[in-house]
């Protein structure tokens, strides 16, 4: 039996790829491995991965998972209650869903980032967000074969709907975890060097009303904690906006009882629909 030697760490293939220079999937691979978002990399004040790479990578990964979502309707096309057009529509809509969520939430992140006196510039902040979206979509795309397998092996529309909700939730948490880790480092306020000519405004420490109490925390630390709390809230908003955006852009799977359409009528919300789908399942 032919045996292959186990690669040392890092592998020769990785070294050869690195020598060839950046490639689309090479960059995404490095992002997933955390090379661009290590503490050392973020503390240099920027992220080296190009925005274009992240955007194209997100489009490809999202389109792959979207196609696996629309496959359910495509397979029902023969029975007259589905359409192969749904495969194309979902392949287009999944990347759009993430990119639109980004467009809607980016301004608020920009404001919070600026308030925190983050070292990252606007472009870098966008890279971090797009990086989180790419991580989210990479995990989602890796579940594409599983989704496609269930699409091929089941005819239960409610089951498929809940399965996709589950996959989106799991990958969403992975993306948000990535964002949280990256932002923790980014939100470290810039230390103003002593003797600097233009010093930025630092809020005064709160007044202590109790004499002899423990000294108040350092202003920078206090500010940092506040910003972290704001960011935690912002991450929740990011998730909610994403969920609602998905609801607005539906259908992604294509209900067998309905004609193909690019969009559905507005009304209700995703949470109510998920609860109703549990009822329809059995």
């Amino acid at each position: 039996m032919p045996e292959t030697p186990n690669p040392p760490s890092p592998g020769p293939a990785a070294q050869a790829a690195a020598a060839k220079g950046p490639t689309l999937f090479g960059d995404i691979d490095r992002l997933l491995r955390g090379h661009y978002t290590s503490e050392a990399a973020l503390r240099t004040g920027g992220i080296a991965v190009p925005l274009r790479t992240l955007a194209i990578g997100s489009l490809i990964l999202g389109a792959f998972y979207g196609a696996s979502m629309g496959l359910f309707s495509g397979l029902n096309a023969g029975a007259g209650n589905g359409s192969w057009l749904q495969v194309f529509a979902s392949a287009v809509k999944v990347p759009i869903l993430f990119l639109l969520t980004l467009v809607v939430t980016f301004p608020s992140l920009y404001v919070v980032s600026a308030l925190a006196r983050s070292r990252l510039q606007t472009g870098d902040t966008m890279r971090v967000l797009l990086g989180a979206v790419t991580v989210n979509l990479a995990l989602l795309a890796s579940l594409g074969p599983v989704a496609a397998f269930f699409t091929l092996s089941t005819d239960s529309y409610p089951f498929m709907k809940l399965l996709h909700v589950l996959f989106f939730t799991v990958s969403g948490f992975a993306g948000l975890g990535f964002l949280r880790r990256a932002l923790r480092t980014i939100l470290e306020p810039t230390r103003v060097p002593p003797g600097a000519v233009f010093q930025s405004f630092t809020p005064s420490p709160p007044l202590s009303i109790t004499q002899g109490a423990a000294p108040p925390p350092e202003p920078a630390t206090q500010e940092n904690d506040q910003v972290r709390r704001v960011f935690q809230l912002w991450i929740v908003i990011f998730g909610l906006v994403g969920a609602q955006m998905g609801w607005i852009l539906r259908p992604f799977i294509g209900a067998p009882s309905r004609e193909f359409g690019w969009f559905r009528e507005r009304g209700s919300n995703i949470l109510l629909d998920v609860i109703n789908t549990f009822g329809d399942l059995f």
């Binding site: 039996m1 032919p2 045996e3 491995r33 795309a141 890796s142 397998f149 269930f150 089941t154 239960s156």
Partner: protein, 214 residues
Amino acid sequence: MLGHATEILRAEGRHQPGAPTTAWAALLVAALATPAIHGAVMGTWSGRPLQVFYSLTKVPLLLGAATLVCLPNFFVVNTLLGLREDFHAALRGVLASQATLGISLAALSPLIGLIYVSGCSYPLATLTNGAAFLTATLAGQWTLARHYRPLVERDPRHRVGLVGWLVLYQFVSIQLAWSLRPFIGSPDFATTYFREDSWTNAYVDAVQAMLMAL
């Protein structure tokens, strides 16, 4: 091949965790060829040669396809956990556990044959084959644990990767097994590769059956 099988089961020699080389071909052959033996024996209960042939192809298909469908996610999850440098070792552990499952199934097939020859009903045949799969799965887990032990000691995040793999693999393989029925060949049905209701959902059907029973 027997030498490889022994070393896979013992996780020693060429198939020990951390071995300098990996005999991928031996692992793949063991993971895909040995379950076919059990599949063939499974199908003999029906007394129909076509069912024997179908089951012979379906058991390796079940194990191989479930692994293949889950591998992309396993790769991405390991990468996200920062465990890419160990992916080679993790994949070797997964394949070794699949090979152990296959070899164990093959080893249990004479017992299944003996039970068939002794005269057994269709429910008993289903039950004994279920028990054989359960036993072989536990054996596979034993090998997987042996391969993962040094990895978890080195980095506890491997535990997350392992749990993720097990959950997804079980989730997919239960539905795939449902879709690939029949394996034994019920006397009430003609010999076909798939049942008419193959494209239903195992989980939905199971919950519906439970609700009807209550």
